[in-house]
Symmetry: none
Subunit: 236 residues, 2 copies
Amino acid sequence: MTPVKTAKYRVIKQYICENIESGQWLEHSKVPSENELSEQFSVSRMTARRALQELTEQGLLVRSQGSGTFVATFKSQSSLLEIRNIADEIHERGHQYHAEQLILQAVDVSEEIAILLALKAGDTAYYSSVLHFENNAPIQLEQRFVNPKLVANYLKQDFTQVTPHEYLSSEAPLTEATHEVEAVLAKDEISQLLAISNTTPCLQVKRRTWSSQGVVSLAILTAPGNKYRLGSHLVF
Amino acid sequence: MTPVKTAKYRVIKQYICENIESGQWLEHSKVPSENELSEQFSVSRMTARRALQELTEQGLLVRSQGSGTFVATFKSQSSLLEIRNIADEIHERGHQYHAEQLILQAVDVSEEIAILLALKAGDTAYYSSVLHFENNAPIQLEQRFVNPKLVANYLKQDFTQVTPHEYLSSEAPLTEATHEVEAVLAKDEISQLLAISNTTPCLQVKRRTWSSQGVVSLAILTAPGNKYRLGSHLVF
DNA sequence: CAAGCAAGCTTGTATATACAACTATTGACC
DNA sequence: GGTCAATAGTTGTATATACAAGCTTGCTTG
């Protein structure tokens, strides 16, 4: 058997996450103090503190010396600095993730896409369109063009089971990436997929990734601006 | 006088950072263990541990239970993540830059702003509103709240001559920054300033910057999505 | 020689404690 | 009523300690 003992501070983190995500604890409301948590869970103050500390670093809580710990303003947030897997992000927020695979086929690429993928116009590339859901609400549309020379088996995957990003990472380790971030109005077909009106501003991220062999893929990620934001943290 | 006692774990972090940045400690090389550091700096193991822990979370180190702590592979500089001066960016494009200073005064801050600036609700902060122009077309509205304790002379500046960012950099060297990027619809008064319709999606960047003394300022940068984009380039 | 085990190092988790620094509230005093 | 001081509660830093868990090395043993 596997005992799989969960660390105590993780249990407390989980408890706090659930209360926030279920709406029990609203934004800006006060959460139990270190002492209250340590008594409630029968752990030392340092252990309770660790849970609060890590959730603060993750942006779920805000702490203020002397006055207490509070629920931060909540919004989906993803990090630009790291190339992250959206499924992981959503799971970290304690939310349910699933994906729908809309398209997965070879396509003839336009000149613009060809240039970005380092192919010639008229060459074929692999194309996937996957809609990502957070708690059963669509949160991001991922349209991806993949260099067929570098990832020959792309079309044989099932992207409801593994995200394109996960698969590509396993096939061709990333060496480089660029992002371009814009605010756009989504085309009608996209706004319908995302269940938003066609006047809702969207964040659109174009991400090109390289392996040592060359350009691996171009991802176009579109997400409603009122549900999704990017964040980054720099230390000098 | 102000002793400004630096926390011990910060001293150790600083020591490690300097060794990495100066090239003394190369990628993948082993850094001193918790026990070695605690002896070297005459602190407890938990304090040395905290320094290693935080640097790991910040991505400078990698730890492996049983084998040790190592310098991480350097990644990422990104122009998005660099704190750039918009005047420089525009000049680099070979375009003409100028700014209009709309507001420069002390204001009572709302609760939300107070939290972000590490002030109390109802405290006063310094506030500036500056409109940046590229070739005589408005390109970005910069609204900025500044911590008056750290930048006492902010209200005496003329931000048509020097950007707020330039001035703050000279007054309080940055040690840390966070960005949040959203796609929004600008309020009417802002869309008028930017000379766009109120249905044009805008990129909004909230940038908080720290010096060693604490939160220096919160900048809210709003720019039309069809004229302005962010980019970043990561290398692994 | 090779396999396996044990020792010793490392980081990970957890506790109990102490004091410092900051905040909000309360109550006394003017 | 307004001001000030004391107080209780909160987070921040720091120490000393203990044991668990993972890796490395070297030695023992077959």
